[in-house]
Symmetry: C5
Subunit: 255 residues, 5 copies
Amino acid sequence: MDLATLIGMIGAFGVVLAAIFIGGDITQFIDVPSMLIVIGGGLAATLVRFPLAGLMGAFATGGGVAFKHKKVEPRDVIEKVSELADVVRKSGPLGLEGVTVDDPILAKGVQYIADGYEPSFIKDSMERERDLFIERLKEGKRVFKALGDAAPAFGMIGTLVGLVQMLANMDDPAAIGPSMAVALLTTLYGALVSNVICIPICDKLDAKLDTEDLNQTLIIDGIMQIRENKSPALIREMLIAYLPESQRAAFQEAA
Amino acid sequence: MDLATLIGMIGAFGVVLAAIFIGGDITQFIDVPSMLIVIGGGLAATLVRFPLAGLMGAFATGGGVAFKHKKVEPRDVIEKVSELADVVRKSGPLGLEGVTVDDPILAKGVQYIADGYEPSFIKDSMERERDLFIERLKEGKRVFKALGDAAPAFGMIGTLVGLVQMLANMDDPAAIGPSMAVALLTTLYGALVSNVICIPICDKLDAKLDTEDLNQTLIIDGIMQIRENKSPALIREMLIAYLPESQRAAFQEAA
Amino acid sequence: MDLATLIGMIGAFGVVLAAIFIGGDITQFIDVPSMLIVIGGGLAATLVRFPLAGLMGAFATGGGVAFKHKKVEPRDVIEKVSELADVVRKSGPLGLEGVTVDDPILAKGVQYIADGYEPSFIKDSMERERDLFIERLKEGKRVFKALGDAAPAFGMIGTLVGLVQMLANMDDPAAIGPSMAVALLTTLYGALVSNVICIPICDKLDAKLDTEDLNQTLIIDGIMQIRENKSPALIREMLIAYLPESQRAAFQEAA
Amino acid sequence: MDLATLIGMIGAFGVVLAAIFIGGDITQFIDVPSMLIVIGGGLAATLVRFPLAGLMGAFATGGGVAFKHKKVEPRDVIEKVSELADVVRKSGPLGLEGVTVDDPILAKGVQYIADGYEPSFIKDSMERERDLFIERLKEGKRVFKALGDAAPAFGMIGTLVGLVQMLANMDDPAAIGPSMAVALLTTLYGALVSNVICIPICDKLDAKLDTEDLNQTLIIDGIMQIRENKSPALIREMLIAYLPESQRAAFQEAA
Amino acid sequence: MDLATLIGMIGAFGVVLAAIFIGGDITQFIDVPSMLIVIGGGLAATLVRFPLAGLMGAFATGGGVAFKHKKVEPRDVIEKVSELADVVRKSGPLGLEGVTVDDPILAKGVQYIADGYEPSFIKDSMERERDLFIERLKEGKRVFKALGDAAPAFGMIGTLVGLVQMLANMDDPAAIGPSMAVALLTTLYGALVSNVICIPICDKLDAKLDTEDLNQTLIIDGIMQIRENKSPALIREMLIAYLPESQRAAFQEAA
């Protein structure tokens, strides 16, 4: 679980809900047609921009990564890889059969080695999956960005619709306030969807893109080294050289 | 048909119409002079920016591509091209006469081969059409972008005109509400035109630009290979090498 | 005449005027002090940004080009140049004396050849004029951009002045509506000046920059070829090679 | 004096003042606490962004250049430099003692030559001053940009403070209008400070940066040529080659 | 202490507080739920974008640097370094033991030399710390930027919540004003947090990034020179060459 995403989002909705409860009645803030305009309209306008299949996939991947993706420390990857290299050194590729690996990408690479695939096949296959994963993250970022733009726009459209209806029927002055309250709800929903959900997730995916690219490249390079039977110490040395200056520093400090 | 565009646009208008019907009376939302200001004014301001002939063409092409253009999978293009290469191998260029090809650009290339044109002529001629098509798509994108900027501006201008008229004649308090409702309609129209039609189509054309450029280049290269009588297997290999990493991956996975 | 600019601008003002007339009384929309704030203030703020002499020149050139400049088709330039080359071939440079040339830049080049100037002088002189013309167009674009930014800002300033005056004197409730109507006029004027005049002209000048640069370079190169007595067919060939891919295609298609 | 800056700024304030006087009473528009919020707050927020000493210097330099700096025509610089070269040719460096030079930078260079300093010292010293001057102009531009952003923000903050005070004390309905008028004053002040003073000066400094860099480089190069006793004609030729194409053209045209 | 940050921020809050006190009652401007929405919501939305640990660190580092970091003049660094080189020249590395150095980074370097570490170790170790410090400053800048975007958004969300509550309960007309005053408070808080705290600190960190990078690189290079026992004069010469043109000028001027 990515705790920051969860805590942040719960916190943001929490303070808004707290303000609503302090002010009185939450039913004043629930209006299904208003939700339909903002969420339905926003999704529909996003749909125009993307191919149908891609939208769902990007949505799912993006959401999943933002919430569930555990941050993998490059340091842990390097430790794990040199551990695995040690196993191969001692008991050959078949020794990997008994090892349990948590990271699904590393696990796949280990399986390839245990199954005795050619290095070029392993490299192609793993790089292909990394590229597809990165591509889906990017698409997910674009989808959340588009939705974060469309939701406030439909919030404003909904408020305009509500205002026109209210202004056209002003016979009962007592109804003006509540009508206008309902009209404003779409603007509120749009602001919430955009500022609490879409923009932060879009930024988070952007930050994850770089670290994921680095981590998976590290894993692929490590697996290739293991496959070629390099010594654990050498692998460790080489992988550290891949890290950007600042991360390498952090790594060496801990070493 | 590009279903995503159609579903998205119908959905977006649908939720707004639903909100209008739930609130009561759709006639409150129809005002022909307001439509004239937003659509007429928006188109006129767009017209200043572009040459007259180009505007209509770009509008038509852009709209057509956004709604009707079927997405062609590079994979299908490659399969079809190697199929055609097989025909040529077996029964010579004249064998292509009996083949039906759906894609109009591929069909044109096949016709060129069957008619025995020189390779350099075929290449020049097909690249020229690809460039013109891409150029029209870009112009279409610029037109929808300009209209998407101009429509909300004229929506605001229309609302200001309506407000001035309302404020200058406040003798009858009962008329204030309905007058203001009408004044707000132009802002609503402007927001709808921009957010439901123009910006999404502009984004869609942007996304189609890349895939169209790739697909048509693929087709041209495939046609050139067929014309030079290369073997289907070789053509397949070469075309795959043209694809960007992520698409090549998807292709090989399926193979 | 550039019909698109004229039709577009008349159309945009037309729909706004129509909306005003339908709503009643145009005198409600005319307020000389409000016009002074928006146009005078906008021009004054633009003046701070530019040197005095340059402003007037850029204003005149920009406006002139946006409205009057006839679009010259590269194809026509090339045809005309090869025609002139033919004349020189047949009857020598002096044969150009009797030829009438519409385009003023081409006419100047023809005059230089007829007068027997050195190639290097002709080239320097014509390139210098092209550069000055392009420079003035760019300056014109910057001036209209600055005015398009300043006009709505002064529209808002005018509305704030009007609102403060209205709010400070609310003794007569009947005067509130008309006072606010007048206050809103500056915002309306600012939006019109910016969206109907300045931004579209700025965009148009931007589009003309590229085509003008290409056309005048074409003319200069053509004149140089004629001066050096190249054959019309050769000149035609060389000039076509100057065109960007898409325009070259259009040209060859017509050939 | 830079007349455009002065005329523009007086004109912009003039039309606003005219609108205020036509509407009645200027005392309605003067509110010292509101001025404090916009100008004091804006300056304070700008102060956070810059080191204290730099702020004052940049403010002074920027303001001085925008208002007082006379535009120096490159042509005049070149003429003056070749004149001075002629003097040195005829009567040696000491002949410069009797010459009066208006431009302070050129005058300093002339003094260096008359005093017989080494070329490398003169070059270093003059380039250092040019760099410091350009650096101060850039800093000035950043300060006016920051103030132009902060002033409207504090205008809005001031209006919000005023609105809250007004809304919390609505016992006397007659006071609502005037209170709101005062609340709006900060927004008006912010818009004026930003649109009439800060943004135009920022743009002007941006335009001056390029011409100043060119002019001072011209002067330094000219002084170096004089110091090395080059002939006036040669110096003239070399300096013209430094100018950008468009200015060189203008120069040669006049020659 | 960075006086500009402190004076600026106190000044900005000061003018706003002054305006509040002049208008009457500060209790009207304190509303704890409103503060919770803006600050809690803003922090929560920022939290979604960043990893939890990084957020706190970046926040602390950024805040600390903006307020406390004393600007180190490159000139003082160079003087101090050549002083230290002189000590090493005269009494060997051990002579440094008795020297007190204020700057913590320089002090660390001096300690390394006194302790007789290898040059390559000293260089690696100090560069690593510089990179980590710069990285934390950049992260701090991003955090303040994100908070500066989120705070006004939550200000608007809070105002919408307040407006909906007020409009839904309009039975008591006397309560409308105060309710709306409270609703506006979140917008005011959001504008203050963003314009007085976040944006200026973000800009300040941006400015400090460059000078810190330069200063620490200067110190590291100086320490390396001292370690290699270079003469103070030579070190001075080399370090000056590192400075950008404008600073070198200022330095030489003073020399």
